[in-house]
């Protein structure tokens, strides 16, 4: 993949800033949600949805579209912000997040939200579903790619490793996984709660092609995705080193912001930071 231009980086930076505001506004208006993980995964989604994935909101169910499974479903405000911005549903929906009757559930629901390819929320299940989608592409001789994003805490789920074996065994090189490695889980630092390290070695030992990048560096992400998508014979895991709460100083690396909404003062402070 060719080198990314400075203009493209700036375009993505501005887009991400707008989407971070959307995320914080949604969670503030909902009064609950998970800002930390949504902000850590957001730049990965921005690169995928604005520079990589073959999708069209006008033909949402195109069988040949690229798929994305957000296995760490609690980060869905980031995905909702992206899908609204891409035109999958009206931006006005964002204000209904987590409210009764809303198409935007607290965790992704493929039956209620346009653009969601798989319902998630119960951790550990997304990679299996993504494998099924990748196998389906092969059976249909379709060229679509399947992307799946896992959390680092989620790596403690046994099903992830069952699924890792499946992807490698079936040589699913039409599948690219991301690990949103922000290092924090609800009960603390992941290395203190129950360390899944060495993660890169584990994925390699499970038969995967593994890349490591800064998950907030657009050029690096794009370059890694390019390498993943041209790699033959094995699936690729892109371990994206991220910062929980990225972009809002007082949320960064603070576990308190895993699953709580900002109050009015915090919300305004966050928005002000995102103006710069």
């Amino acid at each position: 993949m060719q080198a990314i231009s400075a203009a493209t980086v700036e375009e993505l930076r501005l887009k991400a800033r707008k989407l971070r505001k959307d995320v914080i506004t949604m969670i503030y208006e909902a009064g609950s949600g998970h800002p930390g993980g949504a902000l850590s995964v957001l730049d990965i989604l921005v690169v995928l949805y604005y520079k990589v994935m073959n999708i069209d909101p006008q033909i949402e169910k195109n069988p040949h579209r690229d798929r994305l499974v957000l296995s760490k479903g609690h980060a869905c405000p980031a995905l909702y912000a992206v899908l609204a911005d891409k035109g999958f549903f009206p931006p006005a929906y964002l204000s209904s997040l987590r409210k009764i009757g809303s198409p935007l559930q607290g965790h992704p629901d493929m039956r209620k939200t346009p653009g969601i390819d798989m319902s998630t929320g119960s951790l550990g299940q997304g990679l299996s579903a993504a494998n099924g989608m990748a196998l389906a592409a092969r059976l249909n001789q379709s060229l679509y790619r399947t992307y799946v994003i896992l959390g680092d805490g989620e790596s403690q789920e046994g099903q992830v490793w069952e699924a890792a074996m499946t992807s490698a065994h079936y040589r699913l090189d039409n599948l690219t996984a991301f690990l949103d490695y922000n290092g924090l889980q609800i009960d603390g630092w992941i290395r203190d709660v129950k360390s899944p390290e060495p993660l890169a070695d584990k994925w390699r030992a499970f038969g995967w092609h593994v890349l490591e990048v800064d998950g907030h560096d657009y050029a690096s992400l794009l370059e890694a995705i390019g390498r993943a998508n041209s790699y033959k014979g094995a699936p690729t895991m892109i371990i994206a080193h991220t910062v929980k709460g990225k972009g809002i100083s007082f949320m960064e690396n603070q576990i308190d912001w895993h699953g709580r909404a900002p109050n009015k003062e915090e919300y305004e402070k966050a928005l002000a930071e995102l103006e710069h």
């Binding site: 390819d117 798989m118 119960s122 299940q125 993504a130 099924g132 389906a136 059976l139 249909n140 099903q159």
Partner: protein, 316 residues
Amino acid sequence: MREEMATREAYGKALVKLGRNNSKVVVLDADLSKSTKTVLFAEEFPLRFFDMGVAEADMMGTAAGLAASGFIPYVSTFGVFATGRVYDQIRSSIAYTKLNVKIAASHTGITVGEDGASHQSIEDIALMRVLPNMTVVVPADAQQTCLAVEAAAKHEGPVYLRLGRPKVPPVIPEGLPFELGKAQLLREGDDLVFIAAGITVKLALEAASLMEGQGISAAVVNVHTIKPLDEALLLQLAQKTGAIVTAEEHSVIGGLGGAVAELISENYPVPVMRVGINDCFGESGSPKELLQKYGLTAEKMVAAGRAALEKKARVY
């Protein structure tokens, strides 16, 4: 398939037939294809068969992904591993998503036999029945299994198909129409009704014959679809007979007996006696010995029928 045959065997054969007619059918198994008989499909359609190894949770999720992409996955393993072992995977990735996955569980109930309680699923109907969007089917013989496999493919949404290990004789009359959600009245009767599913259908017919010898007229209905329940027919039979005995190779809690008791108590309260496994685990033994020891016999059903009639006499 009017011969004595295990429902799992009939399932394997039906899958092959289905595979020939429908290129969207794919099959997944978790290292038990020789036992579940999905091996027959694997031999004819190797590219549409996925052995997921001993990884049932991943198998359910993979099936969900295939279904989300337009395929009709039939997923097979033993009943204990196809339900309780992977309950959240079914709940989150298959039932909540209303994806078109067919879970065909073999080796259900205590007639698994010698493998013992670890392998005898006596709670699977209850677990599947409580999930929104799930259809629960328990075929009574080989022929009905074939019809159920075909009907499941035509039904859009998740289906749980409950199959057994031992050979069972044909019990459903040839040519009787099969429709998901429509129970089959196999024998008319006025005094009470036996409501059965799976291997207990044959026992119910035997029990009804025994009771006829005692001057009691018992109806027999085959509830091959436990969810959605054929409420209209069951209420009609409750009104006609005023006494009910349910019988299943499953716990008396939460299965067919539970479903019938819920329906009857809310709509037309009459005595309901439940024959099944009495809230205990099974053990190793031959299927015949186990059915005897755990009370799944025609004689036990006759006794339950008499008890239901006594309660009816007391009520009215």
